[in-house]
């Protein structure tokens, strides 16, 4: 029996990278998956691959669009049991000259977007008698609250720390209804978004991988491996896990002290 047989899942960010790998894995594990993304063509490509899955274009930072999309997706799937959000957009590298609009955009896509998606999904999960809310945070940029490591993306890191708190607060308030809320903290993962971000800063991904070296004990993650973390938390194997964020980073965090070079 497939691990997610009969489950109905919406993946926001399904057009690329970790979200796309998660949509594929959930589909292969028996779930019915709806795909949503800011990039319409990318969402359509993933949806087509999954056999004409329901597909939506949305900006997760827009409260109304999120509610409309979640409602439409749930209607198309005949209800909703699982929701995953993995958006990633342009990031900034400064504090001193960080324009307020850039700060707000990064914060809204990651933190506010997570909140909006959870808000919109909760009534559907409740109607289904329970379910799981999932979101990608970041292992090296926002883990464990107090251990938050600001790295070099200040706005991104702040938003990731906020996401962690949204995940935990949702768990505290809604776990009793059978609505679990969890996150996955990927280590550095070879996705379009990650490769593009490096290239925009004049760094080739292979150079980067070589430089970090031992800092990623099992090497750079592939999106398929990170998607397995979402599969675990979405499944009945994690029935007693809520308010928790799982690191899927091949030991990067375990070895960070004295090893990570940035």
């Amino acid at each position: 029996m497939a691990i997610l047989n009969g489950k109905r899942a919406l993946v926001i960010g399904a057009g690329s990278g970790i979200g796309q790998a998660t949509a594929r894995l959930f589909h292969n594990e028996g779930a019915r998956v709806a795909c949503a993304d800011l990039n319409r063509a990318a969402a359509q490509a993933t949806a087509a691959e999954l056999g004409a899955a329901p597909c939506f274009q949305l900006d997760i930072a827009d409260h109304q669009q999120v509610h409309r999309t979640v409602d439409s997706a749930a209607k198309a799937l005949g209800g909703l049991d699982l929701m995953v959000s993995t958006p990633f957009g342009p990031v900034s590298f400064v504090i001193e000259n960080l324009p307020p609009e850039q700060w707000q955009r990064e914060f809204n896509v990651l933190a506010s977007g997570t909140l909006y998606a959870f808000q919109a999904a909760i009534p559907w999960l409740r109607k289904a008698g329970g379910g799981v809310l999932l979101s990608a945070t970041a292992s090296l940029f926002g883990d464990y609250g107090a251990h938050t490591h600001p790295a070099i993306f200040p706005a991104y890191s702040a938003a990731k720390a906020a996401q962690e708190m949204i995940i935990k607060a949702t768990a505290m308030l809604h776990s009793r209804e059978g609505i679990r809320s969890c996150g996955v903290q990927p280590g550095f993962t070879r996705t379009e978004g990650a490769v593009r971000t490096l290239e925009e800063n004049g760094i080739q991904v292979d150079q980067f991988e070589a430089r970090i070296g031992e800092g990623m004990p099992m090497g750079m993650a592939m999106p398929e491996a990170v998607a397995e973390g979402f599969l675990f938390l979405a499944s009945d194997y994690a029935s007693y896990i809520t308010g928790y964020t799982l690191l899927v980073d091949g030991g990067s965090y375990a070895g960070r002290f004295g090893r990570m070079l940035y």
């Binding site: 691990i3 505290m172 675990f232 994690a238 809520t242 928790y244 899927v248």
Partner: protein, 247 residues
């Protein structure tokens, strides 16, 4: 094509694995052994109510590896699910008691790690069972928590050592799991506080998920984390606690 996928999945998460489970008296090891078998692993259990041999001293670790090896051949999974339970008010603390707890809960993990690196060739998984009390505690559980706390750095260093060859090492942190030990603790505390009614239900009512966990819920999470479906998960502390610690 889709039929082929279904067949692989029907095989269970741990098909073809050979696993040693070292159990204590709290039923967690039993649940793990049962779950691992139902996921397709061949399991040798030492200690616990249904395991072979006794398992409560550090010397029993090497003996367990030898017995499992003889029963199953070369192992690729090892789970240390033994916990020595102890509740003791700080006023009654004794260094003897503390050393006893360290010699079981902590030293057994050290010995298990060392032997697992040698026993498991190439890729595989090692998993320790710890408790939330190693991360945050209540007055009477401090010593037990302290004796489990070393599992954090022990897990991480073994994970770093094994990463290159795909030997993954993780720790599961249990919240309030329904066991005779937890029920006895709840009853004891309930009596001390003069609480009438079901002390256990009162204790677990504050867990965000609203109930105690079952031993199989620890076992399910352990199975997934040990399985090839968690190929990039290593050096991690997995909280299986219904949100008790963080939420």
């Amino acid at each position: 094509m889709s039929e082929m996928i279904d067949m692989t999945l029907a095989a269970g998460l741990l098909e073809g694995s050979r696993c040693l489970v070292m159990a204590g008296a709290d039923g967690i090891g039993e649940a793990i052994a049962n779950r691992f078998r139902s996921e397709g692993a061949a399991v040798h259990q030492t200690g616990g109510a249904s395991g072979t041999g006794s398992f409560c001293r550090v010397e029993d670790v090497a003996a367990s590896f030898t017995a499992a090896r003889a029963a199953l051949g070369k192992l690729n999974l090892v789970v240390l699910a033994y916990s020595q339970w102890s509740t003791m008010s700080p006023e009654k603390w004794s260094t003897d008691r503390f050393q006893e707890l360290m010699a079981s809960n902590a030293a057994m993990a050290v010995e298990t790690g060392r032997l697992a690196l040698r026993e498991i060739e190439g890729s595989g998984a090692l998993c320790f069972i710890s408790t939330d009390w190693a991360l945050a505690t209540s007055p009477d559980l401090g010593l037990m928590g302290a004796s489990k706390a070393p599992l954090g750095p022990i897990t991480k260093s073994l994970a770093l050592h094994g990463a290159k060859r795909g030997l993954r090492v993780n720790a599961i942190f249990m919240g309030l799991i329904d066991s005779p030990q937890l029920r006895a603790f709840a009853a004891e505390r309930g009596a001390e506080a003069g609480i009438s009614g079901d002390a256990f239900e009162r204790l677990v009512a504050r867990v965000p998920i609203g109930r105690a966990g079952t031993p199989d819920e620890i076992a399910k999470a352990t199975a997934f984390i040990c399985s090839p479906r968690s190929r990039h998960v290593t050096g991690v502390s997995v909280l299986v606690d219904g949100g008790l610690l963080y939420a």
